[in-house]
């Protein structure tokens, strides 16, 4: 390994990268745009636009509606005067939920009967609907409980104090803030995207331009050439990591619970995997366009299988097995483990070992193929 040659190539790559303002802007801004978008879009399903058809128009029905509004999950946007209005609002998308209170609601309560209240939800988006429905259920239950207690008191009976008191604790993310979970995931995803694309473009572009031939005919070894090209990319990767991390901490208030040093060290392992992958693709593809299409075959499934959106534990066995072949899976576990849970090597060593294995294999294959392609 001749370090002078490695350094010569690295200097050339630095110059070319920073001279190309558009690429610099894209590489530096894209991660931030992604973090901001995911960070805000991941906020909870709240304030669902709701249309109300209150046929009762009594103090009792208003009391119930207040309870719905106080849950913060329903926000009343319109008042219906017929069932037709409710259907139209939900069909048209101006409302995602409809609440219908029957005309005899108050009377039934006074008669100690069970009034029926309808909550209809647009369940096209099952996740959002599930939240709305369970909140509606909870609102109903707590209203019922209050009514029972009041009626017992009215009847001169002391309400019993039996029942199970379930005390819930949300560990690691007590505020149950979705962005605490999503933002570290975006960090991993962005790293994968940036590194594969940059390594692809630095090699395929050079081949397209015919300049790779010039380098190959010089005495530089393929290992030196690859390393020289990767060093600047690793620096860019660390710059990206730092900006995303600063954004996560100071903008989204995502606390870093664990060791930042460990995070920076493990990211290096992930760089090896992703840079190797980009190089591998560029030894297969003939043009940059081809390479970007090829890499999608890997990036798309890896995003879906890694647990970035869908938890790996909830996957069918075949897909869960497939997720073990996605390096992002390990890196996500590591990043979330360090940032959210604050755990260290004692729990993450298995993922770190597997990620290292991945990096070594992918990078070695890439170097070998790179050498062959020169031919």
């Amino acid at each position: 390994m001749n370090w002078r040659r490695v350094l010569t190539i690295a200097m050339k790559e630095y110059r070319q990268f920073f001279r190309d303002h558009r690429t610099v802007a894209a590489t530096m801004l894209m991660p931030l745009i992604q973090v901001v978008l995911y960070g805000y879009l991941s906020s909870d399903v709240r304030y669902q636009p709701t249309i109300v058809w209150d046929l009762s128009r009594t103090a009792e029905s208003r009391h119930l509606l207040d309870a719905f509004a106080n849950s913060q999950y329903f926000s009343f946007v319109a008042r219906a005067h017929a069932m037709r209005d409710v259907v139209r609002a939900i069909d048209g998308g101006t409302a995602l939920a409809g609440i219908v209170i029957p005309p005899d609601y108050a009377r039934q309560i006074h008669d100690k009967k069970k009034p029926e209240v309808m909550v209809a939800v647009d369940a096209s988006d099952a996740t959002a609907a599930r939240t709305a429905l369970s909140v509606a259920d909870a609102v109903g239950n707590s209203m019922t409980q209050r009514l029972v207690i009041r009626q017992m008191r009215l009847a001169g009976v002391r309400p019993p104090s039996v029942g199970i008191d379930v005390r819930t604790r949300a560990w690691y993310n007590p505020g149950l803030r979705q962005e605490v979970f999503i933002v570290p995931g975006v960090l991993a995803l962005v790293m994968q995207f940036t590194m594969t694309f940059l390594s692809m473009s630095t090699i395929v572009r050079e081949r397209e331009l015919g300049t790779l031939e010039q380098l190959v005919v010089s005495p530089i070894r393929s290992g030196e050439l690859m390393l020289g090209k990767m060093l600047p990319l690793i620096t860019i990767g660390y710059i990206n990591l730092t900006t995303i991390l600063l954004f996560a901490v100071f903008w989204f208030r995502v606390p870093v619970a664990g060791s930042v040093v460990l995070l920076y060290v493990t990211v290096f392992l992930f760089f090896f995997t992703t840079l190797g992958l980009g190089t591998l693709v560029s030894t297969i593809a003939k043009t940059y366009i081809q390479a970007t299409q090829l890499i999608q075959f890997f990036l798309m499934p890896s995003m879906l299988l890694s647990g970035f959106i869908f938890p790996v534990d909830a996957m069918p066995p075949v897909l869960r097995a497939a997720s073990y072949f996605v390096p992002l899976t390990y890196f996500l576990t590591i990043v979330r483990g360090i940032i959210i849970k604050g755990v260290g090597l004692e729990y993450l060593w298995r993922q770190i070992a597997l990620l290292t294995l991945f990096g070594v294999v992918v990078f070695t294959v890439a170097v070998l193929r790179f050498r062959k392609r020169i031919d």
């Binding site: 070319q16 300049t211 031939e213 005495p219």
Partner: protein
């Protein structure tokens, strides 16, 4: 192998799938000469040069460059040669000086040696004033000179130039050739491919390649006098183009091409000149005297390629 041979090629073949790009060629290049490789696009010139530079493996046959087998020891070859590839071999987003520094670094120069080499070669290819200019902003002739400077910086014993003057204006081509001849005089062996026949006159010896095979070889004057070169006559007529059309497909006419204001026609031998005259007169052309001329390399090439 003889010590004063820079390149020795025997039965060299390279196939790409079913296509044979180079078909069992053999040739030698003597130390210090300018050796030209002529042929149309796709004839196998670039493939041969790539093999000799150690970046493409031969399918069969052997090639040694400066005493090293290119298939077995390509790195030893790469250290000692300079190579200027066809087309753009520059980084448009790097300056002249950055190119020079890059090549100096790749060949292991550093510190004061590197600075001196960069300065010397920038001056030798006449780009000192353009040192801070991006390669992408340089005109064609300057680009070629920059590429040449890069290829020569490490003082190679052997220089491979693949179509070095393609797409360059005539004046820049002449300047470029002055540089090449200068380096050859200083002892560097040069192998150059071109399809500009006039440039071939600069070569000490040359070979014509067509369809992967060498179809003729020798010094420029040998080639022009070769017995199988046929007889070339000059027709001076105001109806050159019409005559050219009329000669198309005539069996004994090997080649016919406009050469300035006249028309050069190469026929198989002396007797065919009379046949040519008869044919022209029969079609109503005033053929004039049909003077013998020394064929240009272009005539030679066209005639060699046409003859069976």
């Amino acid at each position: 192998m003889s010590g004063d041979l820079s390149v020795h090629v025997e039965h060299l073949t390279r196939r790409f799938g079913a296509f044979t790009a180079v078909d069992g060629i053999s040739f030698d290049i003597r130390a210090g000469e300018i050796w030209g490789f002529l042929g149309p696009n796709g004839a196998g010139k670039s493939t041969t040069i790539r093999i000799l530079c150690g970046i493409l493996a031969p399918t069969s046959g052997t090639a040694t460059v400066l005493g090293f087998d290119v298939a077995r020891d390509p790195e030893a070859v790469k250290l000692r040669i300079g190579y200027m590839a066809q087309g753009s071999s520059l980084w448009n987003d790097l300056t002249v000086e950055e190119h020079m520094r890059l090549y100096a670094g790749l060949f292991g120069l550093s510190g004061a040696k590197r600075r001196a080499a960069v300065e010397e070669w920038t001056a030798r290819v006449g780009l000192t004033e353009q040192r801070g200019v991006l390669a992408g902003a340089l005109p064609g002739g300057f680009r070629k000179r920059l590429a040449l400077g890069c290829a020569l910086m490490h003082r190679p014993q052997m220089l491979f130039l693949d179509e070095p003057t393609a797409g360059v204006d005539p004046l820049s081509r002449r300047e470029f050739w002055d540089l090449i001849v200068g380096f050859a005089d200083a002892g560097t062996t040069v192998m150059v491919t071109t399809h500009y026949m006039d440039e071939a006159e600069h070569c000490n010896r040359l070979a014509l390649i067509y369809g992967g095979k060498i179809v003729a070889r020798g010094t420029p004057s040998e080639l022009k006098r070769a017995p199988d070169a046929g007889v070339t006559v000059e027709i001076l007529s105001e109806r050159n183009v019409a005559i050219l059309d009329a000669l198309d497909g005539v069996p004994f006419v090997r080649s016919a091409a406009l050469a300035g204001a006249s028309l050069h026609v190469t026929v198989d031998d002396r007797r065919d000149v009379d046949g040519l005259r008869a044919l022209l007169e029969g079609r109503g052309f005033d053929a004039g005297p049909l003077r013998d001329v020394t064929p240009s390399l272009e005539d030679v090439f066209a005639s060699v390629v046409r003859s069976p």
